[in-house]
């Protein structure tokens, strides 16, 4: 077990204790779920916190095909792109505790004003 793992474990433990600032929840989730929203809403595995699985997202939102991207002037639909179709995990682009980042813009000129 490498140091980085131990650090990650400690960071994870701290993150849900009173000692550390509570990770931020995005407003749209608070609006939708209110007090029902807690760490385990997304971190569904028992025991140590894991990166949420796609299933945690899909249970509420449905799959990528159920969430079409709004039409945009760049003609890009990241939920059904030429390169990945619906193959990628939600968390490749979407984050909860930090800003989301579309991977399209690694190569293409594009902006998604509604990226949650």
């Amino acid at each position: 077990m490498k140091t980085s793992f131990a650090v990650a474990v400690i960071a994870t433990l701290l993150s849900c204790s009173a000692l550390a600032a509570k990770p931020t929840i995005k407003q749209h989730h608070i609006d939708a779920l209110g007090d029902d929203m807690n760490c385990r809403t997304c971190h569904t595995t028992k025991g140590a916190f894991e990166r949420p699985s796609d299933q945690a997202c899909i249970d509420c939102h449905g799959g990528m095909h159920d969430i079409p991207t709004q039409p945009n002037r760049f003609d890009k639909n990241p939920h059904n792109s030429h390169h990945y179709e619906d193959l990628l995990e939600c968390m490749v682009c979407h984050s909860e505790h930090q800003p989301s980042k579309d991977i399209c813009s690694d190569c293409h000129k594009v902006e998604f004003n509604n990226l949650k």
Partner: protein
């Protein structure tokens, strides 16, 4: 795995490197964290094809490892063009072609440095790739185009004009067949037994490419050896600079994960390296977009039906459909006439009729890489060319379109008059492909540097293996390389039972 076991194994590998014939490397049978029939490293064309054929050959417990979050590496982000002679689609379009003709083209582009058996294997087995892809649900456009340096139109284009049009259907097909995919897993070394046979891999699980953090180090056993299908290392600035210093400043078209980790691991177990200082430059690349985007796709059409001009002379300077090295070198000569502050970017342009056929045009025009000019005067002004000379170059070209011989000998499959409005693109070669890699046999077995014989249980396919294309390669051939040798690697591994 206990830390001590891991150290023992690592030290074994190190010792083996120093003393290949007295290696004491041991990966004891009972200390593996997980066991598989076959482990394939890399989820692009070569890895997918290896899983396909290994599955067909009857292997059940197949694992594809991917370092990144995204699947398919460069295969998913490329244009997916595949040059294959003798496919049913090529025959349907009545195109005369043969494997022999493709070999001739490849050897010319490779400056004769091609390993003949590998080159021959690619060309003769290419049509089997087409059948495999159709079987996986891949759809192609109902047209065949000609890329530079090819003696016949043989380029097949996925229906969505992207390598994703191949990667995604194959990925889903394989998931259906029970092949397991695991991303965010970095292979740190190839492990071997006391006989120097490759028996598995050491990995970092839940690896984050951005931070290089990971959750656990583990070892996985692979009963049928390991297939390495990890592509090139164009984004590994240090490795590129060390092997080919004069290319160090060039932008690379590869995805960020294209680093040298696995070529180093292959070298560490004694693989024979070949042509590691040979890199291909893409002649369709533009300084006005990142990597090789839609503008590069558009350029192939502009090269085919339009012309390319040196702004300083106002004249054509190359056969726009020569092989990639010929064109990239010609462009570098033009570029070097300028200065660092004011580069003399060559440019290509075509008529509106051509843009209607060109995949990538819409995006490239929208994003500003392609410029529209309503007259020769506008075009000349935009690229800083003398209008009278440019006008003459266009008139000269239109005579060639009418049937006059071309001094550059460009093959013309479609004759389109060059007239306004023009659509133009600035050109600047980018580092595109690692020609070198480990030496392999036509059966995709990796060759040992100390014996020049295959290393037991080690197979490689695609860009990480060298030799097939020689010094440089033609467009639409690396996809086929990965798919052909991936298929072969999967078959060879399935037949390899020393570790089973």
């Amino acid at each position: 795995m206990k830390r001590r076991d891991f150290l023992t194994k690592s030290m074994g590998v190190t010792a083996a490197m120093a003393l290949p014939f007295s290696a004491t490397a041991v990966s004891s049978e009972n200390s593996w964290d997980r066991e598989y029939d076959l482990i394939i490293v890399g989820s692009g064309f070569a890895g997918l094809a290896a899983a396909y054929s290994a599955n067909k050959a009857g292997l059940k417990n197949i694992l594809i490892l991917e370092k990144m979050e995204t699947w398919g590496g460069n295969s998913a982000i490329c244009g997916g063009i595949a040059c294959m002679p003798n496919t049913s689609l090529q025959k349907k379009h009545g195109i005369e072609d043969s494997a022999e003709l493709m070999i001739k083209d490849m050897v010319k582009a490779g400056r004769g440095f091609n390993h003949p058996e590998l080159c021959k294997t690619l060309a003769t087995e290419a049509h089997t790739v087409y059948d495999m892809l159709i079987g996986c649900g891949v759809e192609f456009m109902d047209k065949i185009i000609r890329l530079g340096g090819h003696s016949a139109p043989r380029a097949h284009i996925p229906a969505n004009a992207s390598g994703g049009g191949i990667v995604v259907p194959m990925h889903k097909y394989l998931v259906n067949k029970g092949v397991q995919f695991q991303n965010r897993t970095q292979v740190t070394s190839l492990l071997r037994d006391k006989n120097n046979a490759i028996t598995g891999v050491a990995v970092q699980e839940k690896f984050d490419f951005e931070t290089e953090e990971f959750k656990a180090e583990q070892t996985y056993k692979s009963r049928h050896g390991v297939v390495v299908a990890t592509g090139g290392w164009g984004q590994d600035k240090k490795f590129v600079k060390t092997t080919m210093p004069i290319y160090a400043h060039l932008e690379a078209t590869a995805h960020p994960g294209a680093t040298a980790g696995m070529i180093k691991s292959l070298l560490a177990v004694g693989s024979l390296p070949i042509m590691l200082d040979m890199y291909q430059l893409g002649p369709w690349a533009s300084p006005d977009e990142k990597g090789a985007g839609p503008a590069s796709f558009f350029a192939d059409y502009s090269f085919s039906e339009g012309i390319a001009i040196d702004p300083m002379t106002g004249k054509r300077f190359m056969n726009e459909l020569a092989d990639r090295r010929t064109r990239a070198e010609a462009q570098l000569v033009v570029l070097e006439k300028g200065s660092e502050e004011k580069p003399n970017y060559p440019f290509t342009f075509c008529s509106e009729a051509t843009t209607k056929r060109a995949e990538g045009f819409k995006g490239a025009y929208r994003d500003g890489a392609v410029n529209k000019s309503n007259s020769v005067a506008e075009l000349a002004k935009h690229h800083g060319v003398d209008e009278a000379v440019l006008s003459q170059s266009i008139a000269d070209w239109n005579e060639i379109v009418e049937g006059k011989p071309d001094p550059f000998n460009k093959p013309l499959d479609r004759r389109t008059e060059l007239k306004p409005p023009f659509y133009s693109l600035r050109l600047s070669p980018k580092l595109h492909y690692c020609m070198g890699g480990v030496a392999i046999t036509p059966n995709a077995e990796v060759i040992d540097a100390t014996t020049c014989e295959p290393i037991k249980g080690l197979f490689a396919a695609g860009e990480v293996a060298g030799g097939t294309h020689g010094m440089d390669r033609l467009g639409g051939c690396s996809s086929v390389d990965g798919l052909v040798f991936g298929q072969i690697a999967g078959r060879t591994a399935a037949n390899y039972k020393a570790n089973a």
